[in-house]
């Protein structure tokens, strides 16, 4: 561990009179005192962030894990994994798991495919900037505002049903948010409407970092447009793809605002995902033990999903 305060004077300063406290070499005791003071200063710089995170995030996390092992009866006895077994016995929670799986698939596949397609198609061309703007715009809205917009689209007398009746498809008009699994599917679509923007931005960054020489070489060798995309562009987008998949996955798992404002997890508890179920169990059903168990399960899934793209990030940055 190096210290800045001792030694290592730049060459060429010997002629000029140095600062007084540097003229004599330090004694070992002085040295350690300087080191201790330096450590204290470093601690002072880190303390606010560390304290805040420990107090507000890590301690509550530990407490939630602890709470998940106690049941929700009045005396709240230690009950091992009873709360976790609710996932098998409680139909609302099984439905919640099903919905979460649908969300995971939908929030990864839709923004990925659409984002990649839109980024590739709008990478060059005249109207591409404008078209891209249309897609990126919803990304600037909050989940709650997106929910307001899509409620307007999807209610019984909303825009979607209006269009369907307008083109003579009355039979398809329906209460989009009322029946499962359609309601979960339309919310995944609403989520994709918002989340594709960020995928487009990331894929564009990736596309622009592809050296044009590789594409030129490909076209000289007679590769068709599709072959170029498949064998030259796509492999070089791999790092960005992993980030897009990881981010959408984690955001999909954590998504709360959209569902809460659109349906509050209803009707019944049909559209809950784990993130919403946790809130419902804890604050509405007043079963904090079950809520804590859901939160822990959600954490495990989120951590596993994060690992997918974190592994890369942290390798590169060398922690």
């Amino acid at each position: 561990m190096s210290t800045y305060t001792t030694g290592r004077r730049p060459p060429g300063t010997t002629g000029t009179p140095p600062a007084p406290r540097r003229t004599t070499p330090r004694s070992p005791r002085e040295h350690t005192r300087a080191t201790v003071r330096q450590r204290l200063t470093a601690g002072g710089f880190m303390a606010p962030a560390v304290l805040l995170v420990t107090l507000f995030l890590l301690a509550p996390f530990v407490w939630t894990v602890y709470r998940s092992f106690f049941s929700d009866t009045r005396t709240a006895p230690f009950s091992w994994f009873e709360n976790y077994s609710l996932f098998a016995s409680d139909p609302a929670l099984s439905r919640s798991i099903q919905n979460t799986l649908m969300w995971v698939v939908g929030t990864v596949a839709l923004p990925f495919v659409l984002g990649l397609a839109i980024a590739c198609m709008t990478n060059s061309g005249r109207f591409s900037r404008l078209a891209r703007l249309c897609v990126v715009l919803p990304y600037a809205l909050s989940g709650s505002a997106v929910a307001v917009v899509w409620n307007f689209m999807l209610t019984t007398d909303g825009a979607v049903n209006q269009v369907l009746t307008g083109v003579g498809l009355d039979s398809l008009a329906q209460g989009w948010l009322l029946t499962w699994p359609g309601n979960t599917v339309v919310m995944i679509v609403a989520n994709a409407w918002q989340a594709t923007g960020v995928a487009v931005i990331l894929f564009l960054v990736g596309l622009q970092s592809i050296p044009p020489e590789t594409l030129e070489a490909g076209s000289l060798d007679g590769a068709s447009g599709w072959q170029q995309f498949r064998h030259i562009v796509l492999p070089q987008l791999r790092p960005v793809s992993i980030i897009v998949i990881g981010m959408s996955l984690v955001n999909g798992l954590k998504s709360f605002d959209l569902i809460w404002v659109l349906t509050q997890g209803g009707p019944g508890r049909a559209t809950e995902t784990l993130a919403v179920s946790m809130y419902n169990e804890t604050f509405l059903e007043l079963r904090p033990g079950a809520g804590a168990a859901i939160a822990v399960v959600l954490t495990v899934i989120v951590l596993a999903a994060s690992w997918l793209y974190l592994r890369r990030q942290l390798d590169v940055k060398g922690v």
Binding site: Q38, A49, L52, C134, V149, M153, V205
Partner: protein, 271 residues
């Protein structure tokens, strides 16, 4: 060549129009005067009732205090997170600190966990300490949530800086405190702005803590007020709700497009 290009342009056009429809309907129907709304969505603007709708939404959802609160929470938390994360990144990367990896994980782990895992313990301890339903309480939570990711961005940016400048300043006898404010902060300014913009938007858009940690109309943030307004959808009518959504979204939309460069750079750092 031409067929492919035509197809591509057609695909772009269709996608762009599809994407634009909800945004278009949001704006058009927020313009329709609430009294004229016929029960089914309008597709073309007629009459200009936007400001009237916004002021109705303002009154019904008490948006005035909510907007003020959200501005306070977003600015203070984003600034605090940027500065505290800057401190921590400076200490772990520039200063000679032992166990860098440990400190990194202690701070960074907060951003990996879903928010649901914090909320009930925080709710209970807030109820015990009279921080519940206070502005200070919300600022503290928002700052704590923002710090880990801000730290990650600041740290990665700090890693790219040359160490020589700081070493030279230290040899000239500058204290760490001075080195931080006079050398490190100017050098990391762009990352700090990126962090600020990112966290401002994140705090502004938060709903969950807003509806859990506050109940009063003069404490709750703006998304909680919007959710409340949406809950009155059938009473106040779609134009007012949409105008309200538009109004509360304006600050972040403007910020997003004004600072898109910083947004993209923070996403790139994220990589």
């Amino acid at each position: 060549m031409s067929l492919g290009r035509v197809l591509r342009n057609a695909a772009i056009g269709v996608l762009a129009v599809l994407w634009l429809v909800p945004t278009w309907l949001l704006v058009v129907n927020a313009l329709v005067p609430a009294a004229n709304y016929s029960g089914s969505p309008h597709w073309l603007p007629e009459d200009f009732g936007l400001f009237d709708n916004m002021s109705q939404a303002w009154d019904k959802a008490h948006l005035g205090p909510a907007l003020g609160n959200s501005l306070l929470y977003s600015v203070v938390s984003a600034v605090a997170a940027a500065v505290l994360a800057g401190f921590a990144a400076f200490a772990t990367i520039v200063m000679p600190v032992k166990r860098q990896a440990l400190w990194f994980w202690v701070i960074y782990s907060g951003t990996l966990l879903p928010l649901q895992v914090f909320i009930r313990p925080l709710f209970l301890s807030y109820a015990h300490t009279s921080l519940y339903d206070t502005q200070l309480g919300l600022v503290l939570i928002y700052t704590a949530i923002a710090v880990p990711f801000a730290f990650f961005v600041m740290r990665n940016y700090t890693l790219t800086l040359p160490r020589e400048v700081v070493e030279a300043a230290r040899m000239d006898g500058a204290s760490w405190w001075r080195v931080f404010w006079q050398i490190h902060v100017p050098l990391t300014r762009s990352a700090m702005i990126a962090v600020f913009v990112f966290q401002f938007v994140a705090v502004w858009n938060d709903l969950m803590f807003g509806i859990t940690m506050a109940t009063s109309r003069n404490i709750r943030p703006v998304m909680a007020a919007l959710a409340d307004l949406q809950g009155n959808y059938s009473n106040v009518g779609p134009p007012v709700v949409l105008a309200g959504a538009l109004l509360v979204s304006l600050p972040t939309v403007v910020l997003f497009f004004a600072a898109q460069r910083f947004f993209v750079s923070s996403l790139k750092i994220h990589r």
